[in-house]
Symmetry: C2
Subunit: 365 residues, 2 copies
DNA sequence: TTGAAAGCGATACCAG
DNA sequence: CTGGTATCGCTTTCAA
């Protein structure tokens, strides 16, 4: 195995100059198809891998990358952005420049933000494609302009995106079911709430939950899911009437961030005490609910790690051209009273140094 | 804020040469204390940060790092090593060279391996200090020779080690307790098995388990822990007699890898069916036990991630001199039937591409 | 279409 | 003790 293989080596082997080799390797204009083919071939044979240090050293151009995400009602998206920023500045501020385009709601500004990023000619985009159909045209356009796009949290299939980073929805759903089954000792009625069955991510969680329950805990009866369409009042109202109509309900699995209205409905219906509630994600308002035991467990989707990973993939592609696995799935973390503190300590980086009685570290959770 | 600040900038500001600046910055001999002080001061003022790309480019010396770990009976240490190797070669093979010094048992060869590494003059060491007292002298020696040492899995206090990477034992113990409490609905007798209360890591897990149980599930009675001293037959024998003497036992938390003897004892005593068993780590022989439901949940200590993280910390220190947080703690993953498949798919990297019906990705779990 | 050459910032020499 | 300089591999101009 050759220890190295530089531009010079391949230029030397062909008796041409490194300038030409460089142009050939980068699809720059002004290289005859013939030389290009030969360069490519030799590069292949020699196992040429660009030396990143040298590349970075000689071209100090900044990579511009656009981060298009939701404002969000909980801290989820703040954490995603924090993860991205953290990873970006760990590379040293001089090599990359991040432009945040944050839009207010599921349907407000998403398309515009993406269009802007493309037109601004950024080098890459990290985005949350909440409405993949709407974004599809733009994403294709980005793909044809060779602007790599990495999706976070949810996928946008058939759009030519470089990669998607998300938690494994099947894992989340199955884990929730397994816990629920154990908590209830295999007995009782259980409800799932979600945003909309039309959203792939939610449907997947529901089905995974359903299947695991069916396979391992046949004694548990699963009700039809409640769809809240991301509207808090709808979640509250629907749950309240269901809780009143079904007082014998023993468990609820909230697949979205909208757990508070569900909890409130249960509280108002007076059934919270005999309900095992499993939620999704972690945000300040949920903390007391976990502490009090109202929420038995929550499935934390590790927003910071998602952001960090998305950035890494994009950066590696941009700087080295290597595209690793295109579907990066994370294992969600399970948070209960017992380990809640651990996660809370990591939430805000600023606090880390101060409350140093038990120093906790740099892993982005 | 200054966009850069190079060696030249600071040399220029002082009217000296970059060679001198370089030497001053690196504590090399042959610089007058006076110049050195001035260089340091200006460097400080200018916010000088070495350019890693340049450094790496100009000195293509390989870093040699020694990885001293146990052979191990389960796959834990194989995974740790795999994580290290993976991360190392993701940097490109040309920059780092890893020497594995793997010793057979807890007390066999650990000291020698460390001594060898130090004497071989490696640039850094990643080690599992199973017997910190014995290693202490050598670790101090390493510290005084400026060889950074990173501990994995368990800490070696007061040894001058650069950092420790481990799971949070308190989190593991508390989480296990919380699950146990929920699974048992707050009732019953529970047992903990561990290797030795003298080992900090195990004592911590036990106490965390105890405290959480006490705080949230006062109805559960915790028996005295069983210490198996890492001997399988001892674990089996002690458990068997306890299970026979206490047939009403309802839960067991195994804090070490030695869960099989415990399971076998329970099976042989005929109590497995009415026992909630929570184990630690994940290895092939445990898989069927989880599938069958004999093990309700296992707390996975993410060996691959531990290895990977240890390597990163060491490498960053070696290449940039930056020492981040010295205690890097990871959140353990909870594995149950519902998400077992997910983790199994990641175990062997080679399988990943082949069973590609649902491609899974590069996060080291 | 190609070659030649000037850097990028740090390291590690060799003179003085 | 200190200054000067070749070098690392690549990008990017400027000529040819």
């Amino acid at each position: 195995m050759k220890p190295k293989a530089t531009l010079f080596d391949i230029a030397d082997a062909l008796g041409i100059s490194i300038g030409t080799v460089h142009r050939a390797l980068h699809n720059h204009h002004g290289v005859s198809v013939e030389t290009k083919a030969r360069v490519l071939e030799v590069a292949q044979k020699l196992g040429y891998r660009p030396n990143l240090a040298a590349r970075y050293l000689s071209s100090r151009r900044k990579l511009r990358i656009s981060v298009n995400t939701l404002k969000g009602t909980t801290s989820f998206w703040d954490e995603v952005r924090a993860g991205i920023e953290e990873e970006a500045k760990s590379l040293g501020m001089e090599s990359v420049e991040i432009e945040f385009r944050t839009y207010p709601g599921l349907d407000e500004g998403e398309e515009e933000a993406f269009a802007q990023a493309v037109q601004a000619g950024v080098d890459g985009i990290i985005t949350y494609p909440s409405r993949p159909e709407k974004l599809k045209a733009w994403m294709r356009k980005a793909a044809s302009s060779r602007i790599p796009v990495v999706c976070v949290a949810t996928d946008a299939p058939e759009t030519g995106r470089l990669a998607v980073v998300s938690v494994d929805t099947l894992v989340s759903g199955s884990l929730a079911a397994d816990l629920m089954g154990r908590f209830l000792k295999g007995q009782g009625k259980v409800l799932v709430t979600l945003s909309d069955m039309a959203i792939l991510e939610h449907a997947e969680k529901f089905h995974a939950f359903q299947n695991t329950l069916h396979d391992y805990y046949p004694g548990i009866q699963l009700l039809d899911p409640i769809q809240d369409h991301d509207v808090e009042s709808e979640a509250y109202a629907k749950c309240l009437s269901l809780f009143r109509a079904t007082p014998e309900l023993s468990g609820v699995y909230v697949t979205t961030e909208a757990s508070l209205p569900v909890l409130n409905a249960a509280r108002d219906a007076g059934v919270l005490g005999n309900l095992i509630v499993i939620t999704t994600d972690l945000f300040p308002a949920l903390v007391p609910e976990i502490h009090s035991g109202a929420v038995a467990a929550t499935i934390y989707q590790r927003p910071r790690t998602q952001g960090l990973t998305a950035f890494r993939v994009l950066y590696e592609y941009l700087s080295e051209g290597k595209s690793s696995s295109s579907q990066l799935t994370l294992a969600p973390h399970l948070v209960m009273r017992g380990n809640l503190e651990f996660f809370l300590q990591r939430e805000s980086l600023e606090l880390r140094e101060q409350k140093a009685h038990r120093p906790v570290a740099a892993e982005a959770v």
